[in-house]
Amino acid sequence: MLDVGRHPNIDLLAYSEIEKVEGEEGNFKVTVRRKARYVEEDKCTGCGACKEKCPTVVPDAFNEGMGERKAIYSWFAQGIPSTHTIDPNYCRQLQGKKCGVCAKTCQAGAVNFEQKDRVVELTVGAIIVAAGYDVFDPSRIPEYRYDKLANVVTAIEFERLLSASGPTGGHLDRPSDRAIEAEIEALEKKAGKSQKVIAKFEEQFGQASADFYSSFQKGEYKDDEERNKWAEKYKEHLEIVEPLEAMKKKAEGFTAAKRLAFIQCVGSRDFRFYPFCSGYCCMHSIKEAIIAHEHGPETTSTIFGMDIRAIGKGFEEYKIRGGNHSNITYVRGRVAEIQAGPDNNPVVIYEDTKERMVKSEEFDMVILATACAPTKGIYELADKLGIELDAYDFVKTSPLSPVDTSRPGIFVCGCAGAPMDVPESVAQASSAAERAAEIAFYGDARKEKAVA
């Protein structure tokens, strides 16, 4: 990534979208909209002082909504370019309220609330489409209860939980436990405020609230207006503190997730959604189970799948290593349902096809290996580029020219063309680069050949 930012031959247009494409191979006229960041790219040093001071907290999309960021943000810490961006949907100033704290904090004077979108015209010989994919939305499978059970997560969410730069700093804290901890924090703030109110009364009357309240309940001080207020405030305080104490006691028992279930083919190899095999999910489930085991040696993982497709260099060995050294059990069977169990533990109902029995098992967390779905933006992009999509809305290619689209001079690589893993994406990317280079270097000769 750093090399891209530094390379003299790369003109990086981040936070930009394709508006219009005209022309033909060798001579495409492309209009690119550079969206307003409200931060000057040539001035911002990426120091991050602005986001420290920004008062508006927003769910962090990079962490799949599990962490928090500010209204002025960098997409992620090591992001290239490091230029910060203001989210106009959340920024107080851009929403017409009074703020501008970031502009006051920025020593480089980079914040510019008046910035507008800019339109750039490019002339290029060839285009490479590397638009990627979207994660399948598992809430479309109601029996897996992804949107109801906090501890049922997608593989990419789990990836963020495992990451040292993620919302938990790499600790496998369960989402339900994190929610309770967040609630405790909020209640503690509230309790602190009400404690201050009560302390004032205690000082005024020289008596502890608990003693006063017991005599108040016996019927004393009924006519004293101030003491009535005190009693009311103390009652409110108790209503905060009592559930808070219970929650705190519960939170003491929280540990990292230790019993993990991985469910394969969520949305893929499923005729209701995508009949194809996404190809990489078996491997990322094994990888996540191995990494989770590295985080906590007592972690056990069960991978539920129709079969484990470990096709690739070193993949089968990786799978066996996971089974032998990382407490992974492979169960052949498709999961029918995930139910709510005690202590927010999901219960997996499945058929063990080897034993021909329907079984159920309780886990700390369930991770869904979601399908590789075509990216939502591909329809509009394909329309602008004038390229065809296939039956599943990936870019149409043919087996003997896997990076050529239906339009000459436009190539595709990575998951925009079909589901594939990182090594394959990289190989295809180099292939697409070579096809595009043919036009850059021998474009004129190609044209003559085409005419002849």
Partner: protein, 55 residues
């Protein structure tokens, strides 16, 4: 006849294509819709089968 190349998408595939072309001496315009490049791979903790860091 333009010798520049446009790459749409700054994930691992777009990054690899851009670098390959740029190293060949071709001018590349890399368009990414999000504020930073990196794509899905930047969200990953590690990659299989070597458990190398993804970033």
């Amino acid at each position: 006849m333009s010798k520049d190349i446009l790459v749409i998408g700054g994930g691992i595939a777009g990054i690899q294509s851009s670098l390959d072309l740029a190293d060949m001496g071709v001018k590349v315009h890399l368009v990414e819709k999000l504020p930073s490049i990196g794509g899905k791979m930047a969200q990953l903790d590690k990659t299989f089968p070597t458990n190398d860091c993804a970033i």
